[in-house]
Amino acid sequence: MTLKIRKIAVNIEETHREIGREISPATRKAVAVAVIENPFAGRYEEDLTVLMDIGAELGTLLGRKCVEALGITPAQAQSYGKSAMVGENGELEHAAAILHPKLGAPLRAEVEKGAALVASSKKMGSPGQVLDVPLGHKDAAYVRSHFDGIEVRLNDAPRANEIMVAVAVTDSGRPLPRVGGLTHGDAVGNDGLK
């Protein structure tokens, strides 16, 4: 069984002002979402390999959509995240199978390097529910200015037999970071942490 996509949506947000202060250049975040058929809806399946392979395909597809939407080179990506919401006839483990074993490596290829863990979230849901995709720096997880998130929702997904899979990429951190910690400029990015 292969990947069956019903729809793809890509959102970009650009923040030009925050609490009255100009942000220049604007901070920008993109999130790409695929609504796919859940091949295991309605039954318990022990072997989730099919979903793991779907995750690999989506890592490339959605990562690339985000980078294209931002109009940046892969090296200009600064943070990333991934999430999935499973329709009511599926199970939470389906989200884990898509997100964790195989999605990360192809996503990292789309953003260059990506030494850090890809922040993630997952939930069961229904059409119109909100999925909050966490964001963290792609090469050094401790970069504090880049802890963020982006919300995504589609009024018509996920239907009961569907899964919504989201990947988010940014070219910047929060608009007005000032809570200290490691900065983007000081990160080494070799161990994925600092």
């Binding site: 996509i5 019903r6 729809k7 793809i8 949506a9 890509v10 959102n11 970009i12 947000e13 650009e14 923040t15 030009h16 002002r17 925050e18 604007a26 939407a69 909100v130 919300e151 589609l154 009024n155």
Partner: protein, 193 residues
Amino acid sequence: MPDVILRKTAFSIEEIFHEGGPISSNPPRRAAAIAIIENPFAGRYEADIQGFMEDLKPLGLKLATRLVEMLGGADQIEGYGKGSLVGEAGELEHGALWHAPGGYAMRELLNDSSAIVPSSKKVSGVGSRLDVPITHINASYVRSHFDSMEVGLNDAPKANEMALILVMSTGARVHNRAGGLAAQDIAGKDGLR
């Protein structure tokens, strides 16, 4: 009239391959652009507001241009719509200021766009969503192109803000089969049929 103070812009694009039926060989796409601006009339009744429509014209053109780019050019676009959300310190009438600058910006960029741009507007709070209607750009009665797109942002509109929205689509609903006037049968003279 006051400056247009822009806090945020956001753009969404959707590509629809199927909805339970046959997979489309030419998947319809729709895109939305939202600008979050300060409402210069928030918190008071102002009788004379029309001058702000002129100030909004460049923003309308900027959003419309971006949508056309996202969807691959003016010749791809077959449907459109517009809308506004007004934060709670404003009034519904402020949202109506978007009719002219939003609508004319799209029609300026699109050939054969004699149909009225359908719209919706409301006063609401942060995180609210707007269902923006979509109809054919040249003949409002084309039934296959009746659609809508839900848009909104979790952090807008704040009380003193407005969200100004434009939407464009590249074609009919993915499995359209509800009859009515077909796009290829329109006369395209009166904006209706």
